[in-house]
Symmetry: D2
Subunit: 475 residues, 4 copies
């Protein structure tokens, strides 16, 4: 039987991503007692106790956070308005497992407004905003999550969402695949009533494709990770800003005149390179794919092998999704003061393990910043111990989270309402038209005015006036 | 029965694209007599007369043009070298119908080096470089093409390529679909021996998809127009430069501080916008597709409807592929001196016909530049009468043509050597790996050094070390 | 008699600029006792007690900070090396009043290596790094400074630097003019032996020009604030980076697609606009000077009056050096969520006082971030209460401080060694050649290789081979 | 006695700059007879014959050119309007020597509208637009100029402007210093009545400073070449566009991915580098001045010595004002196909003479494009034989000429109306306020709206509300 363990362990334990969310800095739990939430008996003001969170008394503070997030998630608010007449999720019983943040709360309350019932757990043991969880519990949601869960707590919470007498989910919203895995492992029969899975993460999507390939996927699944809108925002546009932010917050480095090598010229690399070039850095690129390599050339970057420039660069950034891109041999040859960081997929791109040897001294100089010191006194500045810089040392803008959450909501609606047989037991991309709809819901933020096709033009182009406007492969 | 006539007419007659090729300016035909090539009896120095061109005496001049082009088409030259050992096109009988230029000559001589026999006609009645045709004839090619063919000549030349006792083509290389159409119409039995069609143009590809949809496509066809490399170069990178070049050569306009509206934010629009922004113009964008619209916003352009800015802009550029984007109503409201031009697909984007009314005066102020004058004295500067600015008023770099020609050669090799059954009677995109190979052949031009995956990395990524490196939908 | 009081008060009390220096975050004083340093008797390890600082025991920690700073101030280190043979400041007795930071320590130890004796006070009551002061005291410097001085302490420290039996300064290094003011007021006779003043700040320079105009300046003074190198780095290059950093750290705003108005297109405005444009913002500019206005146009920014765009922008940034640029009327008309901040000269650009009215609610949401809430619920996000964003919410890179410190050292050398009569009782800019020398000392950081003129070329251009290369007015 | 001969010879003979003006291409002189204008007797329609031009019959065509130019020179037209009430040049007798183009005609007619009388000659033997000269003669101007003057004609024309019974100039408007030189040499007494000289060119300004230094300048002179507005437009903004235009028109080179070295990082170099970087080239910079070198670093360019990159670059551009920057040694080491051109001050930057040796073959491949061929077949592409690329191979936008002409008009007004003694016998820069005024007159072109200082703000800044707003040294 297959096992998700190796996968989820790294996933659950290594991504304290949203801890540094906007606003997160402003509240403290220091006055909280040390009792485990599992040992507490709490009820909300209406007497409901079907939840397990840190402290229901923090609900007011959490509510304010949710209200602020609502202001920056106009697309979900627009969905709520349109739902006043119809309830496209009426009858839906959604079990969810995601980061529990103010933005997630806006999503959950939107799903409820659309007609769904929800039960929710956290997909990461560190990332829950306790105040938000409290506000959700106070609002009647069955939430099982707190910041600082043990691994045992983690699975217990998930189980509490699923395993309830008289309540059986018919939709899954997952981020990382752990919830899906749990149901596969413990309650496989539950899939008989489940209409579909919506999965958000690279890891989880990868798992689903493996299940599908192995013929073991027993419901339709929607891969929302690869929708155009989400991809561009999570990668190109978001990284264009977060590379600068992450480097500044950790090192205060001046970008002007710095020599930088960026490993990988996919969407993430493209974003990093564009930003650094704009700030006056001299940027070199390494690539394995000749098409991306040619794009780097045309965009004005010298395409090199790492060993050609490793002695001269001031900053090394990995964006490959690959492993062991920056190995000890390269680290040995870097110059004094060189900054090394990772913007790619996982923490394998820099071979950090190779730096844990006796002759090298580690000095923690700031949060997320280590100096690794060679016997001759050379110092390498390693950020976030090789984990993702943008998740560890900067923040994800609410606007990006809004796109993700809207995509998730639409994917749930699509799967829940699809006529019998439209979706088989396979993994699907969000239909182009839905992707376009997510984009259109975010245009008012920019006061952007879309042009409409005339009937004559639509006919000429062979398009429906309401889209989709591009083939599925268009990026 | 279907008819290609309406399509090909506009195609054949309206695209004098490569007339302005580099070098084209330097030779003149003025000393040539007026006799039609069809009435001449010419032989090359080896006594061969199986061709029909303007003047065999121009062969030396044409040869020099070909040699210069060879220097800038290193990928084809590399293919020739690799072909010294094997002849992947041995036995291939290729009939071609493309622009006859020095770059095409390099392609044809490469195909021959790879083992093919070739017969060739022009896909456009204006675009043949007579000297190059002469050099090809002198070199033993059966070429049927000259600059300034009549429509009757055009079809006669195509027929002479195909209709030869004892020679039957087994591969088609087409640019616009006219050759394919002719064989469909006149010699449908010929398809029995044809292994495949390689088609280069938007128009021709569109036709092939229609045939396929109608179940009438009887051989496999390769759509090389939509390969990633070609698309990016023909559109994004090439237009980024040619928009500036086309505007400067025609109007000498200063870009700094100018207000410009670009209609359409696909690859062409993205290229135009990036270039103009970089030169200090203030750029507005119109779009119908919300995804492209959101990209425009994130790239720093105000997304507007045309009527919001039409009174204030200095330049209007269409890049939509649509029709009647700039209609008379908008032209009436533009300010004095406004420049209007088209970078999109065809000459329908600006409603030029609506300007042919008695109250408006046309004044030709330069080649490709008209002032259209309103009764109150207002002048609109219309470029290339609404035809494609970059083809009419600037040049296509040899580097871009090199990518196209290499793609065509590889597509021929792929189709010709594919095992029985790999390709059905359908339209295919070039396999990703071939696309990557085209790119890799062009990297040395930039002294660009590709990184190779280690075995361990390839395994980790689940990739073959030699590619393909990305899914097919990656752009 | 003239009075500096109104000036220095704002100066001393309002610029806690360097508190956020790199590294500053990493040490804490929490274990320190509350005794005033003036009441303590401390001696360094050599028995010297001619200083007054917080805690001599912190010297080791301070020494490490200084060593790290040395690595990033190669120009001063190069000066030290060149000084091994000659001592251009031999006999100089420098009294200084600047921020007491690791970078200043590198400067002071360089001056000593060049032959000078130094006594030093802080120019700001908050900005002293106590550990660095301890390391300086341990190293034998007479330092009188600690973090959190009272105003009385402030003047007492300055007096202790100057008023010492048997020690009379002959050079002044000032930052803000307070030290100079104190000597003018208390010990005017001291100027008889003083060879010159080196002044760093806008405020101090302004004072010196006023003194000069009034005929009251009795020694030569060097305005190092207006040297080309310093200006470009403090303003254009530094602000290009710090505007992004300051906004991100405070608000996590996403720049892409945001509409921003920048008031003022001097060097600071140019830097801000370039950075935001590069990140995908749509930037409008306001200006009073038609030359700068025309530059904004040519650089691709719409030049508007504030009232034309105030309702639509997402961010308002002042860079004018003027007062009341953003007044209540404009604040009233901004949209919900608009961010308002100041990158200009002082805290007068935004009329913050006008927001302290009963109908508006202030809510501190983060350090340096206030929400000002209108009765209808509209929130304006005010950063640093209108004080300088880049000093309050980001950091000044050591590289910029290195340029400033090197300029100060060279200005001291120039004034101290100038032949009698070269400098009158006036305010001077650093000679162009010195400015060029500062620049040249910083080129190795970028591995930049300067070209040298041949004799023939120097003659042709009418230049000395060693510079100066440009007229004084060149920027 | 001093001699201008070496200077003016190169000046007069080598700058056929404005021949390629917009519109210039559209009229032909082919129908003109070959008679020298000096041998013709022509009168305008009012019977006036005090001029000497090619053909008075071309006046109508020239008038249309002038009218078109008027549309793009709004600043001069605005001056005319303001002059309807007052005539600031009433009584002025201006003798001028400039290029005779439509733009100059707009200037001359503006001076007349302001009250001046004008007599005019050409400053270049090739650059006169005959039709414009005809229109001016028809309009009553005493013009002495035609295209294709001999050197003797050149001085004869100048003499005819000056040497007229009963007419003595009191103002000089010169471009190159030849007119000034002629009066110095032939009619030195004339300076007694001359109120001032306005000089436009680098060469002429250099001469004036030499005269001033030698104590021989006997009237005030205004250096309009160095006004901020003109400098930025002639250099930074204009070259940013013309480097791309000049390279494209001559070579059709694709910029993306090309490696380029730009010699010199002054205003011209800054413009070239910015444009090429924006188009995707990889740009290296060489500099002699450490301040400009540091700017290049901060702007993201690798600062190198030419020999470090000469083997690898695709394009070499000189922008130094120096001589022998690219010498034979470097040309020998360039790679095949390298493009070499000059954007700097004169034709000395590339040592073209060193390429005129027997072992090298020159091949003219296009107008302004030579291939220089080494014995091994290597070809260097030399543009404009090393003369100024932007003057030879692109055009100067009317907007730039408008700024120059407006500056000249204001300088004449300033000198003519200055109270006795304000200007001594020296060379002056245009007062800052006038410079600002020129800028302000060009803002409406961009629909740009200037902000006005309030009384309170002006007082705070210590500025007059109407300017000047910056110190004189501000650039």
């Amino acid at each position: 039987p297959f096992s998700l363990i190796p996968l989820f362990l790294s996933h659950v334990l290594s991504v304290p991503a949203l801890l540094s969310q906007p606003g997160a800095a402003s509240y403290t739990d220091s006055s909280d007692d040390e009792t485990s939430p599992r040992d507490k008996q709490q009820k909300n003001s209406k007497g409901n106790g079907d939840f397990c969170i840190k402290n229901i008394k923090q609900a007011d503070f959490g509510r304010r956070e949710i209200e602020i997030a609502e202001q920056e998630m106009p697309a979900l608010m627009a969905l709520r308005k349109r739902a006043q007449g119809e309830k496209p999720l009426a009858g839906a019983k959604v079990v969810g497992c995601t980061h529990i943040t103010a933005q997630t709360a806006v999503l959950m309350e939107t799903l409820t407004a659309l007609g769904a019932q929800c039960r929710w757990a956290a997909c990461n043991i560190y990332s829950t905003q306790n105040e938000v969880a409290a506000a959700l519990a106070e609002g009647g949601f069955s939430v099982f999550a707190w910041k600082g869960e043990s691994e045992d707590d983690f699975w217990w919470c998930i189980d509490r969402c699923v395993n309830l007498e008289g309540w059986q989910p018919n939709m899954i919203l997952d981020d990382g695949g752990d919830l899906t895995h749990w149901i596969y492992k413990k309650y496989p029969n539950m899939f008989k009533k489940i209409k579909g899975i919506v999965e958000e993460s690279v890891t989880g999507v990868h798992r689903l494709y493996q299940l599908s390939k192995a013929g073991k996927l027993c419901v339709p699944a929607m891969n929302v990770n690869d929708s155009v809108t989400k991809q561009k925002f999570d990668n190109l546009y978001c990284c264009r800003e977060s590379i600068l932010d992450g480097l500044k917050r950790t090192t205060d480095v001046m970008f002007g005149g710095k020599q930088v090598v960026v490993c990988g010229y996919g969407e993430v690399g493209k974003g990093c390179c564009a930003a650094l070039k704009a700030m006056g850095s001299i940027v070199y690129v390494t690539e394995i794919d000749p098409i991306c390599a040619l794009q780097a050339c045309m965009d004005g970057f010298r395409l090199v092998k790492l060993n050609e420039v490793i002695r001269q660069v001031d900053i090394v950034i990995t964006c490959t999704g690959n492993k062991n891109v920056v190995v000890r041999e390269y680290l040995d040859r870097m110059k004094n003061g060189c900054i090394v960081c990772n913007m790619g997929h996982s923490n394998t791109e820099i071979d950090v393990a190779s730096l844990r040897t006796p002759e090298l001294t580690w000095e923690r100089v700031r949060s997320q910043v280590d100096h690794v010191i060679w016997p001759d006194g050379k110092r390498i500045v390693l950020l976030a111990e090789g984990r993702l810089l943008n998740l560890s040392c900067s923040t994800v803008p609410t606007f990006v989270l809004s796109i993700t959450a809207t995509t998730q909501a639409l994917a749930l609606i699509e799967l829940y309402n699809a006529p019998e047989g439209r979706y088989k037991q396979d993994v699907y991309l969000l239909p182009k038209k839905m992707d376009e709809y997510v984009a259109s819901l975010h245009l008012p933020t920019f006061d952007a005015h879309l042009t409409e096709l005339s009937d004559e033009q639509a006919k000429y182009l062979g398009l429906n006036k309401n889209g989709p406007f591009k083939p599925n492969y268009y990026r």
